[in-house]
């Protein structure tokens, strides 16, 4: 509502440093630069850059803050988040978490049934139910591979739960699991 008043005295509003809360265009304006990589709807074509739509607010905030603070090392994301205050990062997190994620089809092909079972058994309790954990079904597989590589090489912290979940999997099972997630990303096949 403060922005509405602003149209009476545009000059005054421009002097206000942060975007004002209110209108529907506002989170959109705030994320203007983000859109070129992450998409207007927070959903992307396949590639190295992740979709953000429908990720949990807590996870998004935690991740963006970690990029800003340098505790999570990316390539451009550390530079992209530089200088944003907590309030703005929370706005980003709230906005992207509110966007609907890709709807996944209902039929899982036979090749991925075992992968789906493994996912339900080892992954979904965190990745679908824990607030500060990413939703990985439908995420770009090239991006996921990068994250896993970073965890494997110690460039990104792997949570203990995840380490123990992965250590319970045989090599072949891990392949089936990743194949399933890849299938989700490429063809939106999962439930």
């Amino acid at each position: 509502m403060r922005m509405v008043i602003g149209s009476l005295l545009i000059g005054l509003v421009l002097a206000v440093p942060n975007l004002q809360a209110g209108g529907p265009g506002e989170p959109f304006m705030l994320s203007n630069g983000c859109i070129n990589c992450h998409g207007f709807e927070g959903q992307r074509a396949p590639g190295a850059i992740p979709s953000l739509a429908g990720q949990s607010e807590a996870y998004l905030y935690k991740t963006l803050a970690a990029y800003r603070d340098g505790t999570l090392k990316g390539t451009i994301m550390n530079r992209a988040m530089e200088g944003y205050d907590d309030q703005t990062l929370r706005q980003f997190a709230k906005y992207y978490s509110s966007l609907p994620r890709k709807s996944l089809g209902s039929a899982v092909p036979k090749a991925h049934e075992q992968g789906e079972r493994l996912y339900a058994q080892h992954c979904s309790s965190c990745h679908e139910k824990q607030a500060d954990t990413p939703y990985v079904k439908g995420q770009n597989s090239q991006y996921l591979q990068g994250v896993l590589k970073d965890m494997a090489t110690g460039h990104r912290t792997m949570p203990e739960e995840m380490a123990s979940a992965i250590s319970a999997l045989k090599g072949e099972e891990l392949q089936q699991l990743l194949g399933y997630l890849q299938g989700c990303a490429q063809k939106a096949l999962c439930r």
Partner: protein, 432 residues
Amino acid sequence: MNSQRRLLLKWLATGIGASSIQALARPAVPVAARSYAVVVIGGGFAGATFARTLRRLDTSTSITLVEPSRQYHCCPLGVEYLVGKREEETLVFGYEQLHAEGIEVVHQKARSIDAKRKQVNLADGSVLSYDRCVVATGIGYKYDSSAGYNEAVASRVPHAWGGGQQLRLLRQQLEAMPNGGNVLISVPVDDYRCPPGPYERASLIADYLKTHKPDSRVIILDAKPRFAKQAQFEQAWKRFYGYGSEQANIQWIGALQGGTVQGFDEAKGQLLTEGGAVSGQVINIIAPQRADDFSQYNGLAAEHGWCPVNTQTLESLLVPDVHVIGDAAYAEKLPKSAFAATCQARVCALAIHSQMHGLALLKPQYMNVCYSLCGDNYGISVLLHYEHDASRNIIEIQTLRVTPLDASDEDYRREALSAYSMFDSLVKEAFG
């Protein structure tokens, strides 16, 4: 804080309904003004992104995109086509999705803007009326910039600074060049489209020469004393192309070393620089640039050649009810890049939406990212944050951050992957 503002804030705190304030805000424009007509001229990244963004904001608005070509040949990643690493089809996009979203796409050349009547005249004699006109017609070339160079010469000696035929021609010339020949790239002073572009082009040409014509060299003759991401480029060149050595496949001669090109001797195949004549078997003169002819002829461009705009709304400062976005716009201090152009497109769409509905203007947010490929699996990037300064009408640079010089191979690989990934999303946002 002045007293007026304090009063307003106090007034706000009493909880006056938004609708009544909206009605007060712009009495001339009805709040429920749902339908208005926008004519967009130019279907590149800026124009297409603008049209699709406005469509999302205003579903019932009449949006017409005027673009003579049925297909858009884009510039980003064109360098990969140039050196045979990419098919041309991957750089060509149509307007089917825009049409499907209810944007009328007219494949005509726009001839003129009648600002008084608020009409655009098309080459076939038809006339389009608008409430707002958005011009996104990009760059033109200063063909008279150096002796011996003109538009006719450019049809044989390509600038290749747009997609399509010019790029094809340069590729053919590169392929036909015998081993041992030199490729010359003449780089103009600012402002021109894609500041790091000439150096990315030189990098991938060096990569091509190293493999296919190892005794050849690409020589950059630069009218500037330094260039974007210079340390990062030079590091890559040293690493991959012997930069600085006798056998180097790449060489840069800056303005301080006499690199400024002053003339062209087509018969001898020489660029005439401050430091003397330089011979090349393939010559790529990236001509100095300005806003395109349409902007010039319609009074949108200032003496410096670009179109000054209000940096909050992208409205022309010279012609009312016309906005200019993309490379033609003089929106200091944004560079001329697809990234900045699409940021402008969205700021402009939001501004027009707000103005047509009597809503307050938002503070514009801009960012710029440019990825450059330097070789296989090796990309570098620059990211700029901006702060809009309304009082000076300047989009001031807040931070400028480049890929660190101590980045790992994995980082460079991921930057290259991100370059492709960003390209895909820029295209998806613009063309669907």
